[in-house]
Symmetry: C2
Subunit: 310 residues, 2 copies
């Protein structure tokens, strides 16, 4: 019996923050994300051979998020192997859809599967977070964790890392609207003040309580009422052209709620049916086309599975 010498993994793009859940809540979409193929080498080096679908991503092993994450994996695993790495990105960096997280997750998930699953999915989070550190200097987990685990995922704490999934209603759909405009995460982060009003913080955690309850209990109205963000959206939405107009389009079509995905410029609407999600997709697409803004707009279920071998 011959041992396979390669493995190919898909890791989904993710919507993070999810309105009130800044830095703590995220979920993956179904079809979009990165695919990474690893091919065993004769030596113990990691070599990025190919990056498709996005420009400007570094091939250097200590800068590329996939190989940075793989190195973190090997540091914990001990027994180092060499791989050629082939990266197929269909969500570019700077989208607000967890592009770097998809690459990091696909890499460590592939490695883990190839090596006989020495780590749990939750253990892989820490390795993929090293890729996030390389991409943005902050090792955040709100894209990495849902991309790995699937489903709505909560980062309760970073120190110690405490991550868990919650159920959500199967009817739930998302429309993702990604206008091809660059918003750098570092700029978006800068816009946030380091202090917030206690009264705003209380409103935010009231909404977090509502959002989590609504998702677990399948209460769509509660999800809709809770999908608000009094802290981040007011400042970050300024960076996204036509944000308010697109939000109105979504809410007019019956979206449960609407917000910025990650640090933008992608936006998302949650809906309780494919029909509503599709109507929003069409209207938003038309609106952006008319204004000459190139964009990618799609609908999806919540991806309940996360990263997987393909």
């Amino acid at each position: 019996m011959s041992v396979p010498t390669s493995i190919k993994v898909f890791a989904p793009a993710t919507v993070a923050n999810v309105g009130c859940g800044y830095d703590v809540l995220g979920f993956p979409v179904e079809k979009y994300g990165d695919t990474i193929k690893l091919e065993l080498r004769d030596d113990d080096r990691l070599v990025v051979q190919e990056i498709e679908g996005a420009d400007g991503i570094p091939f250097e092993t200590d800068l590329n998020v996939s190989t940075v994450s793989m190195n973190a994996f090997f540091d914990a695993f001990g027994d180092r192997r060499g791989f050629d790495v082939f990266i197929d990105k269909n969500i570019p960096p700077g989208s607000g859809l967890g592009s770097s997280a998809s690459s990091s997750v696909a890499a460590v998930y592939a490695l883990n599967e190839y090596l006989g699953i020495p780590f749990t999915k939750k253990e892989l989070i820490a390795f993929a977070m090293e890729g996030e550190r390389a991409a943005s200097s902050k090792p955040h987990a709100d894209n990495v964790a849902p991309s790995l685990l699937g489903g709505f995922t909560i980062i309760r704490s970073y120190d110690p890392l405490d991550v868990f999934g919650i159920p959500s209603p199967s009817e739930l759909r998302v429309t993702v609207i990604y206008p091809h405009i660059e918003v750098k995460t570092s700029d978006a982060k800068k816009m946030l003040r380091s202090q917030v009003k206690l009264s705003d913080a209380v409103r935010q955690w009231g909404n977090v309580a509502g959002m989590v309850s609504g998702l677990i209990l399948g209460d769509f109205d509660l999800i809709g009422r809770s999908l608000q963000d009094v802290i981040v959206e007011p400042v970050r939405s300024i960076l996204i052209p036509y944000y308010e107009e697109i939000k109105s389009i979504a809410l007019d079509q019956g979206a449960l709620g609407f917000n910025i995905s990650g640090s933008g410029p992608s936006m998302f609407a949650l809906t309780r049916s494919e029909k509503t999600a599709t109507a929003i997709r069409k209207d938003a697409n038309e609106f952006l086309s008319e204004r000459g803004i190139d964009s990618m707009v799609f609908t999806s279920r919540i991806n309940g599975e996360g990263a997987k071998v393909v």
Copy 2:
């Protein structure tokens, strides 16, 4: 058939804030709370005839929280009736256990039952909140709502008021430790800064997400990990003598978590069994007795019913 001319209602004491859930989360206990009897009068006046169990509570109709709440009820109901009001308090004001809320809730619940239930329980919240406004100048709902509705109750929003209950595991127990030391809510409020660090706010809403998930999904470990408060406890616990020692006693005995009830001085420990709750009760009682601090320490289930006719 004679129409009854009186009604008697019990409304439970409540633990508010519940660690991370400052201003948004509360639950009622079982046996402790206020009992109010209303007796129909010939005129349309409200007259507080008797207040047992606590000193210094005003008899004046525009100051007493029960009659203030009843007046708010009548303002909405229209058809005014007169009642003699007999109040039996077994949780005194300033305990941190929602004393004023119990009186307000018992009064409006009694009135509603007497008049043939013209309002839903949720509608009564707004009337009882007027009692809270009279007691503390702020019409908060995190004692009133759980005392009325029973169970863990979330105040998602105050404007508009949005309140809902969530399930919690039946095994859950609480030990309440009420040292007879006065902490004025107004003093406790003053200690809170109007601005908080964004990073602390994020930790807090991560814990809120964990707490709510843990309660609904029956995950005791998650409840324990989430029952933390990085914003309010650090400043308010200073006002409570031996706070850290009593917290250690509870955690050493296996409490899931420990925090301040309302604005103190009462404290509470959540446990996953009556046995642990009782062990904490005994140890805390002994600790406080040895130091000559008069106190009331009791265990309870989560009261799933809320206010009721007795």
